[in-house]
């Protein structure tokens, strides 16, 4: 079992590895295409600049992108008294600065945390969560999110969700655009090369996702939450309430899925196989052993 410091160091290293892999992938894809079709070598420089800039953006502004993707607005103390004060209290308990807190208008109870480090962290909760849970349950959910922040899980998850998103947008663009009708043969060639590259890199991409969304993170965050609040019962009943609720969070996408406390696409059987979250029954079982 890793201790907290090793966990933090591991997450920082993995984040750096992921960014490097992303930059390497874009540059080598650009290089292969350039040499195969004798395009201008400046394409490679352009690709290098593009991948570096998007990495910097995902690191520096990832939190804001995630927020705007989810239509979140800031939570005021008067209107969301419990949410605000509970976050404040738990930050005192962990000794990290209080994260900024945001609210998503949605009946589906869920929450996530994001941000590159504890100084730039954000916790986001849906109105459904705030309405359906009592103060103790909410406290435990926020404690779970705060543990993600403290462990630097949020940094790695934020980077991955944005870089994977960028990659999928790029691939979409290339495959739709076809670089003009008159050069159909050439664009087909580009597609084939991209396809080959993806095949080569697929295990790597799989590895990246594995690195980021290891299910162990969720168990660890549950355990740290209980260590902080000393109320396993509160977290158990919160998880039960959240997972038995049938409303679906429409603003969540596959890119932001791993950020949430419970999988926002809970009713889909197929996603379960590749799920970013351990089954709820197992999480509750683990918590019940702490009672």
């Amino acid at each position: 079992m890793l201790n907290v410091y090793e966990q933090v160091q591991g997450n920082k290293t993995r984040s750096a590895v992921i960014i490097t892999l992303f930059v390497a992938f874009i540059i080598s894809a650009a290089a292969l295409i350039t040499y195969s079709f004798e395009l201008d070598p400046s394409v490679i420089i352009f690709a290098a600049i593009f991948s570096l800039i998007s990495s910097v953006i995902s690191y520096e502004y990832g939190d804001k992108i995630v927020l705007s993707l989810n239509n979140a607005h800031p939570a005021e103390r008067e209107k969301y008294f419990d949410f605000y004060t509970v976050t404040e209290n738990l930050s005192i308990g962990t000794g990290i600065p209080k994260p900024k807190i945001y609210v998503i208008e949605s009946d589906s109870p869920n929450a996530f945390a994001t941000g590159k480090d504890p100084e730039h962290a954000i916790i986001c909760a849906t109105t459904g969560l705030l309405n359906k849970l009592d103060r103790t349950e909410l406290e435990n959910v926020i404690a779970h999110e705060l543990s993600h922040i403290q462990n630097y899980d949020t940094r790695i998850m934020m980077i991955v969700s944005i870089l994977i998103g960028t990659l999928s947008i790029l691939i979409n663009l290339v495959s739709r655009n076809r670089f003009g009708r008159d050069r159909d043969r050439k664009s087909n060639g580009i597609l084939i090369i991209l396809g080959l590259l993806l095949l080569l890199f697929a295990p790597l991409i799989g590895q990246i996702i594995q690195l980021a969304i290891s299910r162990r993170r969720e168990y660890l965050a549950d355990a740290s939450a209980v260590k902080l609040t000393r109320q396993p019962q509160g977290l158990i009943s919160a998880l039960k309430k959240i997972s038995s609720d049938s409303s679906i969070l429409s603003s969540a996408s596959t890119a932001t899925e791993s950020l949430y406390i419970v999988n926002p696409f809970k009713n889909n059987k197929i996603t379960n196989l590749f799920s970013t979250h351990p089954p709820m029954v197992d999480r509750i079982k683990a918590l019940e052993q702490m009672l």
Binding site: F81, T85, V86, E88, N89, L90, I92, G93, G95, L228
Partner: protein, 194 residues
Amino acid sequence: MPFLAILAIVALVIVFLISFFNRLRSIQIQIQASIQEIGNQLKRQANLIPNLIESVKGYMKHEKDIFTSLTDARKLVNQAIESNDPTQLNKAQESIGKIIKGLSVIVESNPEIKASQVVGSLMNELRDTADKVTYARRLLIDLSADYNTAISTIPGIWLAPTMGFKPEKGLSVPASGKFLEVSEEEIKEPSVKI
């Protein structure tokens, strides 16, 4: 070659010593900060009480008494913050807790006050501040435990004395004293007038 190896080992040892020292020092600073935090929250609690008294005035028998005990409690809080002594914080917290308990009995037993929105939000604020005190205390306990473990295990037990690190008291309470005894009043069934 052996010279380089020795140099490398010496460098490693120095890096270790520096990081060990820095870690302990930063825990010490965090401990001080958490003591301050407890003090600040107790102060906040004391500041909320007069507002609550204002709302329940008509229902109190000895209004003056509560003001004098509040002044006393405030003095204790200020003393504790100045001396940075956690045991004094305990005392201050106890005296504020007593006042709040008395006030909340009045609130709970009078439906008219309980229904008031102002009183409701004041009670929420007080409860929240109490939570903050709890968490600040918990952080202080955790940090002191980390710190004391680090200086009383190997290699800390060899290094700490030369570096000038002394054990932190944390929130330790004296091993004997009045607080260990249960008073007659506490054994009685609690009576709530409705």
